[in-house]
Symmetry: C2
Subunit: 558 residues, 2 copies
């Protein structure tokens, strides 16, 4: 008889910031009962995934074992933890557990995807327990940059796991429960922590993290001193920040108007679920237009420079009747996620052109991070004294640095990136297996594999342009008319001002005139030759090697 | 008789960091004699200019007035100041003036572009004077992150202009001349400074800039304490940094090996032109392979994560026989230019996976900027006491902030972005005219306009995919065979696993069967209809609206 084992398998989120999906299992090897923690997405960029809507972890491994999946737990409602629910749940169909606010967002996502919303069970915080196969799971409230983030205590026959989700050591988080040393001491006292799977995002930040509540004074002062309209953006899900901003506005005798769908949705779900009990009355954009600018604050979406969001719209001109003017103030109460710098600066510069004063988080006064910094992580290590530390939620450099500081503190730490299954049964983490993982893309309305070649073709067309060459042959393999070239994404004129398409057609015609019967009967060879000639002309004339699609049409006698 | 006037016209670099090109003119309105300062490029990204090699300012305005252009001055050899020389000089053909090192780099660029290298005249530093039409120009040595950067003193009948180029207040810049208060006091005493056109890059950095020489101690310590091979990257043109790094390596008993073409070129030009007199002996990669890792330092290109440079190559695996190993150290002695974050982090993470210790400039110990910070700029304002300040070299937000602090200090400041001509004759800058400017792209080997549509087509193909639909009609406008669809950058299967191309062909065939004779005779209408049908099927089946190219072939009787 094989011994039961405890396994950990990240399918996403380990070796990247985004698309979190972590599997735990317990049982006989290959027959473990499984649970999944989080179903996140990540966002595409033009460099690597042009035209793609969303990126999700490839769940094939778990799909093939869906009969062994006892439950799905969602730690919080950020897109990198819940965004894949609507798209991926149909492949797994296990019951989903989450706290109230997260469950409400999850149900909206399932509904939008045409999936049954009642598949989500709302769970109360510890001491409430969800039993899922061999696992007993408790949600422990934690502070993060969204309401009701939770760590999971996962009790297994092999011992206790603490899976932190995303968190910070904030004892006064403005909305929701703060960090509580006594509570966590209690967790560790109740049962020794065998494994701590821990957020690594801010491991390179060497100062202790600051509380959300430290923003109240500087934000109030800033909003008070602004001479005209004040506009602030932050992550729509940062309900605590929205509350701080709105209350500061009211203190500065300003009415508050919220703009942007995602922000409004987060606020209303927060109010409906009772996580946000006090929030100033807001006005509609129509009402806001009637209010003097000095008495107005707009809260807008688009802190990352998203082109369709309210901030970008205001930077381009009129939005819902509003225009930014000289003397207005615009605040980024947010940090820039790496990769979004140019989009954010584009907005800043447009506002600068309008004479708007732009304030960002450079001075550290108007934004705090939602993740635990290095000293905070070390505090948690000391408090929970886990046997093992598994760093998660980070690029490789974050995981590796987190493992390093844990190892220095005498904890058995192991970096496991996506697809690396760890056996946690013993004293130290042991690599059990490497599982094939990857990414799938939501492209339009369909899911495609990241390696399907579709995206590679798009990138190639974007870099090289695309030439279509058409030749028509009759039933005797004789060319009918001359070869025809169409181009997209290439300059029309080559050397000496000659039309590039014509140069290609001339070369192709000459080649066909010379080509023997045998060649003209062979579609593959013709295609290769036509591609070669088109590329050669392009290289000579404009120094580029385009993608080429060849259409050989053969007309058959009817 | 109209009065002569002094004008300033930025064609690039004002409202962006990159492609610097500033025109000054003096004479009767519309008949001014002109000089051009700098001919820079900027680098494309996938978001806005996929497949493009380089971006340059559109010089049409100046080309049309090339007969009035008396000289071109290059302040220093960074690509954003000299990179356009080979491509744009043939359109202007004025004599080019630069200091020794810059001239040597410029000649290499002209040679590579097949242009006459002897068009560049080497100029000595002030008090040497170049007379160009009504302008008397002196090069004043300044510290920057490349050897022999220079400010220009431009004496005109209307008064003295100081054009700073790129600079920092470094009194001990390791290589070349440092900042000299007495010298600049002398410049201002000699003749009042009417206009200061000034670098704005670091206006948001509120602490005084640090000297290049402050890096010597921390770099030496870091390199000494590294347990195995040490690899450092920085900008290839930062010759002072290369010297500091190499000397620190020698002090740590390490041989130095330089890898990467651009870095080697900069070093050898610096040595040939005499700006770099002392530099440790280097070893070739072949020799380096024989040296114990503990006694080796590699200096490599690719600090911005450029995929073809040495750093990226090492992060992917073997490069020139070298492989990074656990225990090696990699130093980014550089900052990340906004937009390059992801490429740099990709390298960092790959090294992290190899067990390499990566060090960057987070602590401020291993890199200093080449630009003057806000207090330094204020110092220069006070020293030169110009009547007017024209902020240049910056995004709009930099220019605007620079103008703000100058205005507060009582200087008449004016933000002029690309294409805005200022009249500087009077007491304050006055907008004289708006000139059409823009960007041109080097794409392959040809120059194309940014608005030609070529790039827009590429971006659209990248976002939406590309469908080619072919129909063939005989001389009686009867369809021959069925419509044919090829796709690139689109998934092959639509709803229910049906081949997407087949679905399109089926719809097109049905439509052609129904189509009347009149329609089949009208190429434009057919094209519109075919596009509409293809897009409609794509939207229904995969939720995307592809680009469509239609080829209607009409066979005529021979």
């Amino acid at each position: 008889m094989t011994k039961d084992r405890l396994i950990y398998l990240p399918l996403g989120g380990a070796g990247e910031v985004g698309m979190n999906a972590y599997v735990y299992g317990y049982g006989a090897p290959g027959k473990e009962r499984l649970i999944l923690v989080d179903m996140g997405v990540t966002f595409p960029d033009m460099d690597s995934a042009p035209g793609v809507e969303l990126i999700m972890p490839d769940m094939t491994w778990l799909e093939e074992r869906a009969d062994r999946l006892d439950a799905i737990f969602i730690t919080h409602a950020h897109e990198d933890h819940i965004g894949g629910l609507g798209h991926l749940w149909p492949k797994l169909k296990a019951r989903v557990y989450a706290r109230r606010f997260t469950a409400a967002i999850g149900r909206l996502k399932l509904e939008e995807a045409g999936q049954p919303a009642d598949t989500i069970t709302t769970v109360e915080a510890r001491p409430a327990v969800v039993e899922a196969g061999p696992f007993k799971v408790q949600f422990v409230p934690l502070a993060h940059s969204i309401p009701e983030s939770a760590a999971l205590i996962i009790d297994t026959p092999a011992g206790r796991i603490v899976h932190t989700g995303d968190f910070k050591l904030d004892r006064d988080p403005v909305v929701g429960e703060g960090w509580d040393d006594a509570l966590w001491q209690g967790v560790a006292d109740e049962a020794p922590v065998k494994v701590l799977a821990c957020d690594s995002t801010n491991v390179y930040s060497t100062h202790p993290g600051r509380s959300e509540s430290t923003l109240q004074a500087p934000l109030t002062q800033l909003i008070q001193s602004a001479p005209s309209m004040f506009v602030a953006t932050t992550f729509g899900s940062n309900v605590a920040r929205l509350k701080t901003l709105a209350e500061a506005a009211v203190a500065a005798d300003r009415s508050v108007c919220v703009m942007g769908r995602s922000m409004k949705r987060m606020l209303s779900v927060a109010q409906e679920t009772g996580v946000l009990t006090v929030f100033p009355k807001t006005v509609s954009p129509e009402e806001a237009l009637e209010i003097p600018r000095r008495n107005l604050m707009l809260l807008v979406t688009g802190s990352q420079g998203e082109r369709r969001a309210a901030a970008a719209a205001l930077s381009r001109g009129k939005y819902l009747g509003f225009e930014m003017r000289e003397g207005d103030t615009f605040l980024f109460s947010s940090r820039v996620i790496p990769g979004n710098e140019k989009d954010v600066l584009r907005i800043w510069n447009s506002f600068s052109e309008m004479g708007v004063t732009v304030v960002d988080d450079t001075d550290g006064l108007y934004h705090v991070s939602g993740h635990a910094n290095r000293p905070d992580l070390e505090h948690v290590h000391r408090l929970l004294l886990p046997d093992m530390l598994i760093p998660m939620h980070g690029e490789h450099r974050h995981l590796s640095e987190h493992a390093r500081i844990a190892t220095e503190a005498g904890i058995a730490a192991r970096v496991a990136t996506n697809g690396m299954m760890l056996d946690l049964t013993g004293e130290v983490p042991v690599v059990a297996e490497h599982v094939e993982t990857g990414r799938i893309y939501l492209d339009g309305t369909v899911l495609i594999g990241a390696l399907d070649g579709v995206i590679r073709e798009r990138i190639r067309m974007a870099l090289n342009g695309h030439v279509l060459a058409t030749v028509i042959l009759d039933e005797n393999d004789e060319p009918m008319g001359e070869p025809w070239v169409e181009m997209m994404g290439l300059t029309e004129t080559g050397l000496g001002g000659r039309p590039l398409a014509e140069s290609m057609e001339t070369e192709l015609t000459e080649w066909m005139d010379r080509a023997g019967r045998k060649l003209l009967r062979d579609d593959d060879k013709m295609e290769d030759e036509i591609k070669r000639i088109v590329r050669q002309v392009a290289v000579e004339e404009i120094g580029k090697k385009p993608e080429v699609t060849v259409v050989v049409s053969r007309l058959v006698a009817e």
